[in-house]
């Protein structure tokens, strides 16, 4: 299946999601979330005062998109693992049916990968709130 055929068969909702993600990336590149009021604030943090495992994702994206990768990591180390994993899950979801999709999905959606994610997510949640990182 060629790339053109693949693009033609992609449903509209998947295009919409890609478009929204692209818009969010451009906005994050242009506007620093620390300086502009319109960026969404984490409801969990507002309610509990705790940093959730993904807190810092907007500042992370802003810094990383502007090329300051080391500064980005300091906002949230967990995202170094979580974002590539999310990317692979999304990739497995977007790929056309076939052997590669199946093999990727078997790894990424397998019990080991999923429970590793849940375990690290919980561990990071505790550690970052104790150590204030």
């Amino acid at each position: 299946m060629s790339l053109l055929q693949f693009c033609r068969h992609l449903p509209a909702t998947k295009y919409l999601v890609l478009l929204l993600a692209a818009v969010a990336m451009v906005l994050l590149l242009a506007f620093n979330p620390e300086n502009f009021w319109f960026w969404p604030k984490c409801p969990f943090k507002l309610l509990t005062g705790l940093d959730c495992p993904a807190c810092g994702i907007q500042r992370f994206a802003h810094a990383a998109l502007n090329g300051h990768f080391a500064a980005a990591c300091r906002y949230n180390y967990f995202l170094l693992y979580a974002l590539p994993y999310t990317f692979l899950v999304v990739l497995a979801y977007y790929l056309p049916r076939g052997r590669f999709k199946q093999r990727l999905a078997n790894v990424v959606e397998g019990k080991f990968a999923v429970y590793l994610y849940v375990a690290l997510f919980s561990l990071w949640f505790v550690v970052r709130n104790i150590m204030k990182i």
Partner: protein, 117 residues
Amino acid sequence: MEQENINQPLDQTQEQPVQPTANVQEGPQQVNPTPADKPDNNLVLAIVCTVCCCLPLGIVGIIKACKVNTLWISGQYEAAVYEANEAKKWSIWGIVLGLVGSILYVLIAVLSAFASN
């Protein structure tokens, strides 16, 4: 009491032979689902939910989504579809809660800015 206990096993033995024959008749009529019919396990939604700061509901979604593939492979098709729908439900609730929460926050921030002026 004793009479009832004696009667119940007798009733069950009479009913039991009827049920398997009914199941065997229904069995061949059901078309065996192919791998292509496997429901979307909605893991993407669940993980996006955890990354977008609605963690408890997202974790529930992830664990439910993880069950879908194994249930499907073991032949429990209805259970797989059920878990897939559950995963979708929890993740979407999480994402909606997160969005509503942040929109409310922005509204309150704007209103309080107006009030202080």
